[in-house]
């Protein structure tokens, strides 16, 4: 049986847009190995650097915020980013559990 557990991240994105923030939506689109969160997991980031939700268990969120702010700065609409444990910066924002995750960033506008 499947349930529709939903973390209301999109509802929160709507609230942020209502107070005129620029909002980036990050969604887990692919996982390999023991990546901690399933496909479809979401996180939102705004131009102030606030974030809500999660795409891993706290392993790569800092980097996702940084990438999102860059996307806004460059005024691009979307970007795909990947995190692997073999990444050189793994000690800082790789997945300690050895998984890999692919995340799609998109501006809501």
């Amino acid at each position: 049986m499947k349930n529709s557990f939903d973390e209301k991240i999109l509802d929160e994105a709507k609230d942020w847009l209502a107070v005129k923030r620029n909002v980036i939506l990050a969604t887990v689109i692919q996982t390999w190995g023991s990546s901690p969160r399933p496909i479809g997991s979401k996180m939102i980031i705004n131009d102030k650097g606030d974030f809500s939700g999660s795409v891993t268990g706290g392993c790569v969120e800092t980097a996702v915020v940084r990438e999102s702010l860059n996307l806004l700065k460059e005024n691009k609409n979307f970007k795909k980013i990947e995190f692997k444990v073999s990444n050189e910066s793994a000690w800082e924002f790789g997945l300690a559990c050895g998984g890999e995750v692919s995340i799609f960033l998109e501006q809501i506008n």
Binding site: N77, F78, K80, I108
Partner: protein, 226 residues
């Protein structure tokens, strides 16, 4: 994603419609897919694959493409019989877990809007109340009144309609009496054993929020067993 699309997604979620969000990862375009609505023409060539992914309720990138599909299924419905103290905490837990909640209680002073804001309440006896709502194998029943006049008809309805979870509050003795009454009404042992009674997993706590937590934990564990 366009703001308009975001609003439509939230609207669909509130309406409890089954749908999917389709995103082209190559150009960032996205749209909503619903079963009986024509598909956005930009995604036309992936139609069959999107349809099959949607039917399987799978999330992910369609193999060999750059199309990402995320399906939203209808929330599981939980019917609570008895607008009692525990029910107030159950409503909070259920909201966070995205279950759809409905409360039945013929006693108006219990089932008031003041005690349960934003929850659908049916101020009727279970028999009449069930005529107003659709239930199926994805429905759960939590019976909390331990008054046979109110709980029993609801339990009987749930057994007959194969609810995936049926729980009833009350001590071992109360539950054993309940089982006897069901037997007298022609229910088999096999049917009766499906009722979780006394309801909830053993946590040890006896306060209303703790009992609500133990019920919710049991219900979620059953979701994943089936």
């Amino acid at each position: 994603m366009k703001k308009k699309l975001l609003n439509k997604i939230i609207e669909n979620k509130e309406k409890k419609i089954e749908f999917a969000i389709i995103t082209n990862l190559k150009n960032g375009e996205s749209c909503i897919f619903e079963k009986n609505t024509p598909l956005d023409k930009n995604f036309e060539k992936y139609k069959d694959k999107i349809f099959s992914q949607f039917n399987k309720k799978n999330n992910g990138i369609i193999e060999g493409t750059e199309i990402f599909v995320e399906t939203y299924i209808r929330p599981i419905k939980i019917i609570i019989v008895g607008a009692v103290h525990i029910a107030q905490y159950l409503v909070d837990f259920a909201k966070n877990l995205n279950f759809e909640i409905l409360i039945i209680d013929p006693r108006g002073y219990f089932a008031s809007k003041k005690r349960f804001p934003k929850v659908k309440i049916i101020n009727k006896w279970p028999k009449e109340a069930f005529n107003e709502i659709t239930t199926d194998q994805n429905t759960a029943l939590i019976a909390l009144t331990h008054d046979p006049k109110i709980d029993d008809p609801a339990l009987q309805h749930a057994i007959k309609n194969n609810f995936f979870y049926i729980g009833a509050l009350g001590s071992k003795k109360t539950h054993s009496n309940r089982c006897d009454r069901l037997k007298k009404n022609g229910f088999t042992n096999e049917q009766i054993i499906k009722i979780y009674g006394p309801i909830g997993i053993k946590l040890g706590g006896r306060s209303a929020p703790e009992i609500a937590l133990s019920i919710m934990a049991q219900l979620v564990s059953v979701v994943y067993k089936k």
